[in-house]
């Protein structure tokens, strides 16, 4: 079989005409932009993966950016009124809240506490 094969292979073949190349290759589309886009068509899963990755990276970067910065907000100091009711000169009852002995405006107040000595 091999000798017959090699004899067959040696026979000269009929060649196509010279204008076949022009006829065939002239059909190649001349829109490189369109063909380029077709060649680089992005699969849906790649698009979805890139979108997901962007979201994750965005969240991580945002969290890192927020944690690194101290909160600079300063609350306005609320007006403070301290009402001292103990030892009110107007009443000897320590649970009488009707009258205050002293009022202090909003500022630092130093206080000292004293343990009540109660006698039953």
């Amino acid at each position: 079989m091999k000798d017959l094969e090699s004899k067959l292979k040696r026979l000269p073949l009929m060649a196509p005409s010279r204008d076949l190349d022009d006829r065939v290759l002239a059909q190649k589309p001349k829109q490189p932009v369109q063909r380029y886009r077709e060649a680089w068509r992005v699969p849906v899963w790649v698009t979805a993966a890139v979108a997901l990755l962007t979201v994750v990276v965005g969240f991580v970067a945002g969290a890192a950016w927020r944690s690194g910065r101290p909160v600079a907000r300063k609350e306005p100091r609320p007006p403070v009124m301290v009402q001292v009711i103990y030892d009110s000169p107007t009443s000897r009852n320590p649970f009488d809240f009707t009258g205050a002995s002293h009022f202090f405006p909003a500022r630092e107040v130093e206080t000292t506490t004293r343990k009540l000595e109660t006698t039953i």
């Binding site: 079989m1 094969e5 000269p12 009929m14 006829r23 290759l25 059909q27 190649k28 063909r35 380029y36």
Partner: protein, 162 residues
């Protein structure tokens, strides 16, 4: 990375002769074999995406176009003596070779279409049996047995005195 059209052009330029011979084995007419190749590449250049095995796909498209040509207009009743071979007169010292060529051509056209096409695709198309099986969408074993059966018939016919 080759674009699809670049790859098609490369395959055409590399396998032009083989494509033509395989198409000619079906159409038995050089002009119609060329028309089949042109028609096939008209379709191929407009493909949306690159097929997995481009070479086999190109051969299959050309084969289908050649079969379409034959369906539209059957092959000539008078067989070409040279069939797929170069009909050139050749030098005087090649007379024996020319005689052998004519006998092979005559023997080839007496084979069944499947056997003839398989022999042409393998011997002159340079295609492996696996590639032929893909092109013809037939089992590998069928292709191999067609080839060997065809070759045996061809040898028997060639051994007979003309």
């Amino acid at each position: 990375m080759h674009t699809l059209n670049g790859s098609l052009e490369r395959i055409y330029l590399e396998y032009r002769q083989q494509l033509f011979t395989c198409a000619l084995a079906i159409t038995r007419c050089p002009a119609r074999a060329e028309d089949a190749i042109q028609e096939a590449f008209h379709r191929l250049f407009r493909l949306e995406r690159k097929p997995r095995r481009l070479k086999a796909y190109v051969f299959r498209t050309v084969r289908n176009a050649a079969i379409d040509q034959v369906r539209r207009q059957p092959p000539p009743a008078v067989e070409l003596d040279e069939f797929i071979f170069d009909p050139g007169p050749g030098p005087r010292e090649a007379a024996t070779e020319n005689e052998f060529k004519r006998r092979v051509a005559k023997a080839l056209v007496t084979l069944s279409a499947d056997e003839r096409e398989t022999i042409v695709q393998h011997v002159y198309g340079g295609l492996t049996f696996r590639e032929i099986a893909r092109i013809r969408q037939a089992p590998l074993g069928t292709i191999v047995s067609r080839y060997h059966r065809g070759l045996r018939k061809l040898r028997t016919k060639l051994e007979k005195r003309p």
